[in-house]
Structures are given as C-alpha cells and as structure tokens.
C-alpha cells in the first residue's frame, strides 16, 4: 500500500504543484493585465459577432496575434499584452491557413467587400480556400428598407432575388470591424513584455515592407520596378480591383481603360489612392462601396510603384509618376 501511495499520490502531488505553478498562477497574474490605452470592451453586437466567429471556427484558420517579426509587419504592429484585456475567449489561434485578423477592421474596412467575401470568398479572391458562409445570408425578392443587397458578381449570385446579410452576418461584420489595433504603446506595466521589435535583431529581411518608411529611394520613371508594383498591387488592391484590373461589376470599378488611370495628369489617380474615394461615379457608374485610403499604409515609393503598375498594365497607357509626385500630392492633403 505504501508503494502505491508514494507512486500515485506522490506523483500526483508533484503534478498538482506544477499545474498550479505553470497553469493557474500565470493565469491569475495575467488575467489582471490592464487594458492598453484606447482598448475598449466589445459592444453588444460585436460580442454577438464574436460568438458567430467562435461557433464557426474561424480561428482554426486565422490567428489574432502579431509577432514581433519582420514577416508579421503586414498584419500590424506587434501585439501587446494590453490588447487582450477584453478578449475572452482568447482567439490567438495556432495556424495561419488564412491571414492574421488582428487589424482586419483597419486593413479591409469595406463592408461590401467583407460581405461578398463571406458569401463566397472565391468571388473576390479566386485562389481562396476559405469556406463559403452563404448560409449567413438570406435570398429575398426585394431588400428590406435600410439594407443594401450584397452586389455579388453574376457567377456567384442566385438566379432570382437579391442577397442580404442575416443578423448573424451583420454581427460578424461588426466584430470584424472592431478588430483594429490601437496606436503602439510602450506597455511598461507588464515586466515580461517582449522587447519592441527594434530592440531585437531581425531574423529575416522583408523584401516588400508595407510600413511607411521615409526617404525610400524613388524609382526613376523609365525603370520603375514592375515586379514590386505587381506584388504591392496583389497585396493591397487586387482583392477588390482583381488581378485582371477588371474589378467586380457593381461592386468595385475596373482600372482597365479607366479614365483617371489613363489621364495624362496623374493628380487624381494618386489622390484617390492616398485618400480614398466614396460616392463618386467612376466612368459613369456609381459604387455603393468605398475606396479605402492608403496614405497611412504605404509610403510614397510604394504608392508610386503601384500607380505605375496600374498605369502600364491591362492595356493602360497612363503617364508614369515618381515618388516625388506622390509626396507632392500627399503634401496637398485631402
């Protein structure tokens, strides 16, 4: 009997101690992490949306933690302890089959895009392997007052009627829009905060960093970096305007043969990319959704590369621009 007590009891006692030390105690301490400045609790509808997110296992494909690594810069600044004060359940995730969503509300604020994408991701990203969540939408003859039907491309739209988001989809959208990072805070309250990215040697170099960096060398007009332009376009613009530049009829305008893009004066083109556009007809068509501003996301050289890529692709023949042109337009302000 004594042997049994020693082996079963002894090891269980040791284990209980370790479970307290490595599970419960860190849990107690870290549960008290104060919210970072500007981090707020979720509203009712946002919390409902989070339940939809959890019920359908979005976090098996999407993380919500930005690491202090160069390759994670595209997803925002590194996550800080204070970001998670109101995140229960925690949805940090362990796999990135799809992109990190920590800052998706800022990166992709267009409700129209989000709805089309949720209805069927392949309508906007043909290579996507994300499931379709079409059951969160209703097909009705006529959209009820105050609700705009989702402008689906023909190939994905039902034969009859229009598609409107159900309350589930609306809550989910509200939650996605709530996922916005606050400005970087030096969180000194938690002793164990990982060092800020600048203090740590970068493990890797990132070819196309999207963080604004002043003084990037401007490509000359004749030799603009086409590969870089294409890559930046794919990363930032193609989900709406599509790789073909043809946009999605009724949702996002084509840039192919677009008047502004082919205009000899690049002012409007650059301005729209920097500061976005809303409610302005494009080539005679009015769009429900908005063009998001990129002035805080991309630096002058990057915007010049994208603008030049658009101006010289899909049969377009716009005059090319320089980073200085972008800087000048940026200086003019909105």
């Amino acid at each position: 009997m004594n042997k049994l007590v020693a082996i079963a009891g002894g090891s269980t006692l040791v284990y209980a101690g370790l479970a307290l030390l490595m599970g419960v105690l860190p849990g107690i301490t870290l549960s008290q992490t104060p919210a970072g400045p500007g981090v707020n609790p979720l509203t009712l509808i946002e919390a409902e949306g989070r339940d939809v997110y959890v019920a359908n296992g979005c976090s098996y494909c999407h993380t919500q933690q930005v690491r202090p690594l160069t390759q994670d810069k595209v997803f925002g600044r590194p996550s800080a302890p204070g970001d998670f004060a109101y995140q229960t359940p925690e949805l940090l995730g362990s796999e990135r089959t799809g992109p990190d969503l920590t800052n998706i509300g800022a990166r992709q604020p267009s409700a129209v895009w989000q709805y089309i994408h949720l209805y069927n991701p392949r309508a906007v990203v043909p290579e996507s392997i994300m499931p379709s969540f079409s059951w969160m939408f209703d097909v009705v003859d006529k959209a009820p007052a105050g609700i705009t039907p989702v402008p689906l491309p023909k190939a994905y739209a039902p034969a009859n009627g229009v598609v409107v988001p159900s309350s589930e989809a609306q809550a989910l959208l509200a939650y996605l829009m709530s996922l916005k990072q606050t400005a970087w805070q030096e969180n000194k309250t938690t002793a164990g905060t990982p060092p800020a990215p600048s203090e740590r040697p970068a493990t890797t170099s990132l070819a196309a960093t999207q963080a604004p960096s002043a003084g990037a060398s401007a490509p000359t007009i004749s030799g603009y970096d086409a590969a870089k332009g294409k890559q930046l376009f794919s990363a930032n613009c193609s989900v709406c305007h599509q790789e073909t530049g043809e946009g999605l009829a009724g949702a996002f305008p084509p840039l192919k043969n677009n008047a502004v893009v082919n205009d000899a004066n690049p002012g409007a083109h650059i301005h729209n990319v920097l500061f976005g556009l809303e409610g302005v007809p494009v080539d005679g068509v009015k769009y429900e959704s908005a063009m998001p501003p990129f002035s805080t996301v991309l630096n002058d050289a990057d915007i010049a590369a994208i603008v030049n890529y658009e101006r010289s692709s899909w049969g377009n023949h716009g005059k090319l621009v320089t980073a200085q042109d972008v800087a000048a337009e940026r200086a003019k302000g909105k």
Binding site: Y15, L18, T33, Q71, F84, I129, T193
Partner: protein, 469 residues
Amino acid sequence: MQPAAHPSSVLKQKDLELARVFAAYTISATAWLVFATFIGILLAYKFGAPDFGSGAWLTFGRLRPIHTNATFYGWASIALVGLAYYVAVRSCRTQLYSVRLAWVGLWLFNIAAIAGTIALDLGYNDGNLEYREWPWPIRLIFLSALLVTAWNLVGTVARRTTDDIYLSNWYTMGGVLWTCIIAVVAILPWYQYGLGQVAVSGYYMHNAVGMWFTPLALGIFYYALPKLLSRPIYSYALGVFAFWTNLVFYPIIGSHHFLFSPLPWWLQTTAIVFSVAMLVPVLGGSANFLLTMRGRFGQMRESYPLAFIFVGVIGYLVGSSQGTVEAFRSMQAVWHFTNYTVGHSHLTMYGFVNFAVWGCIYALLPAATGKYPGQAGLALHFWMALVGSFIYVLSLSIGGTIQGLNWIQGSPFIQSVVDMGPFHVWRGVGGILMFLSHVVFAWNVWCMTYGPSARAAPLVPALARDDTA
C-alpha cells in the same frame, strides 16, 4: 462474446469479464477512430474543394474540432483506458477492482464524446480553445469518466498480489490522475481572462498530449514489449528515471505553443529550455525500448504487433525530438502557424500514439479473447497506415516549410495558399491510405472479438495467467 475457454471456474469467469471489458473499450474506440478519421478525410478534401459541403453543419470550422476531439477523447483515450485496465490486472496478477465501474466509465466516455460531437456541430464551441472545445458541462462528464477510471485503476493496483507495482502502472495510474487535474484546471474560469486564458491554453494543450496520451502509451509499451519478446525490459531503473523526469519537465513546456506571443518573455524562454530538457526522458525511454528489442529486430518479420510497437517507439523518438527542434525561436520563426505543426501533430499522435495503441491491442487482445486477426489483415493495416502517415507527414513538413519561407520573403499572403495546393493533395492521398487502414483495423478487431477468429485458439489456454514483469 464467444468465450474461448469454458467459464468453468470463478477465475475463468473473472477472466471472461475482463476480456469483455477490454473488447468493449477497443470496439468502442475503433468506432470513434473510423468516424473521426472519416471527418479527417472530409477536412483534407475541403482544402482542395472549399465549396464542397458548404452548409453550416459541414463547414470546416465545425468539423475540425469534431475531428480533433473525437480522435483525442473518443478514439485514443478510450482505447488507452481499455489497455490500461488489462495491463493493470495482468501485471498485478489480480482482478479488476470493479467491472461495473469499468462499464460506467465506458458509458461516460461515450456519452461525453457523442454529446461533444453534436454540440460542436451545432456551433456550441467553448471558445475555439484547442482540445477543450466541448461545452464545459460536457467536459464535466468527461472528467467524471476520468475520475471513475482513476478510482478503478488505483483500486485494481491496490488489490495486486505482487509485491512491487510494475512500471506500466506507474505511467497509466499517473496519467489518469494527472489528467483529472488538467481537466479541472481547464474548466475553472476565474483565472482565464484575456492573456491569462492564453497562458492556461498553452498549459492545457501540451499537458493534454504530454501528461495524458504520452504516459498511457508509454505505460502499455512497458508491458506489451517485454511480453511479445518474452524478456524483461532492458532497464527498469531507466524507466523509473524517465517517469520522474517526464513528470517534472513536461508540465513546464506549454508556453512553447505561444512563442512570440504577448505572453511574458521569460515564460516562453522557460518553455524552450525545458523543451530541450525533454530530450532526457524521450531519449531515455526510447533507448530503453530499443535496447529491449536488441538483437531481435528480425522478429518483426513474423510479428506485426512487434512491428507496430517498433514504429510507435520511433514515432515517439522522432516526433518528440522534432518538437524540441521546433521549439527554438529561430525555427518557430519559420514553422509557427504553418502546416508543419499539423505534420508534427500527426507524427506524434499518429506515428507514436496510434501505432502504440494498435501494437498493444494486437499483442494483448488475442490473449484475452483467444481470437486472432488474419495475417493479411495485419499486413494491410500496417503497411497502409505506415505509408499513408509517411506521405501525410512528409508532404506537410515540406509544404509547411515553403509556407513559412513565403511569408518571410514577403510574398502576398495568397501565394502561401497557392503553394500549399499540391501538398494538400498529397496529404489527402496519405489520408485516404490511413483511413482505409482503419477500416481494415476495424475488421481485425471484429475478428479478435465477436467475429470469426482467423486462427484456432491455441491449445495452451490463452487466458492462462502469465507474468511479464
């Protein structure tokens, strides 16, 4: 079931009861294996055909936790508990403390797994916290099954007629008792807010695999391997040493699931240090098993159970060493969040735990029931499972590395999705072989229990009590 020997005495009656319990646990576990890996195939298929089965009930995010929880708590847990009971009774040369409790436990495990599966499919998911997604009331049912099992297992060992407690029982009793604590820590909510919950998740994920499946699988190795070879374990002392080091190091490494996260940096570093220290019990344990087999590896040609166990030992060694390498920050910078991790999960849970369970069932269940699977069935099961899982793990390891490098190079995200395409197809190919092997396994289990034995019961009564330790 058809008794192989006449229940002519009380002793025989007890043996028969034990055989029934063992068989029932195995059959029930097998049903879960076939179900859960069918879901696995469906998931793998969805990577190539995301619009397939796109209703709410068949959506990826609901099926995935069904797959993981059903393999963990339906298949592996139930199978291991059945084996643990049998090993406890035989190695202690006694009888089950309570046959009734064993049945109660089996029902509780199954009720929990069925309720959990239904709940997840309806969208009741407890926060997407991996491996504890079942709503907490259902996890309480699972906890009660664990408590019943712990009581029964400890009670059985307490009734032993041997003086010593054979090593196997250290691991199995320990595993069940510790897991009761894991389950309680995972359920209580008071210290699980925000980042606090992240710390608990890290703790939970690795303790579920490291303090539940690992000790149970190792425990049954310590019984079945000497039994198959009719020679004692190479070093009993080394086994005891591995037991204590495993106990002390494993619970500390949980945070390696959240490297580079906002968890305190020192917590992450501690986890990495002990992930390296884990080499001690892993190398010690594997060496012990391999040395027990020394000079007898050729015997695998005749004995499939031995071959299964050998693969299991190698899976333990390779999978865990891989884990240590994966835990370094420099490696995590590439592999974290990629399919490489999924490869590791299957190398360990499949290459180690599954092969361990299969080897031990094939080694021990016929001894309990007196019925045997056919050689062809064994061969089919072994080779399809081995080749299938090899393809599965290899394709995800290569693909996952490419995925990680893509991100480092700063390619648009979708590039990593496109580049994984062919590897996801290969994973599916491996997965189909694995699934087919499980169907064959189910047939073999049938042969070993209610169905037609492929071999006449040996003249020496199978139920003869034998000692191994």
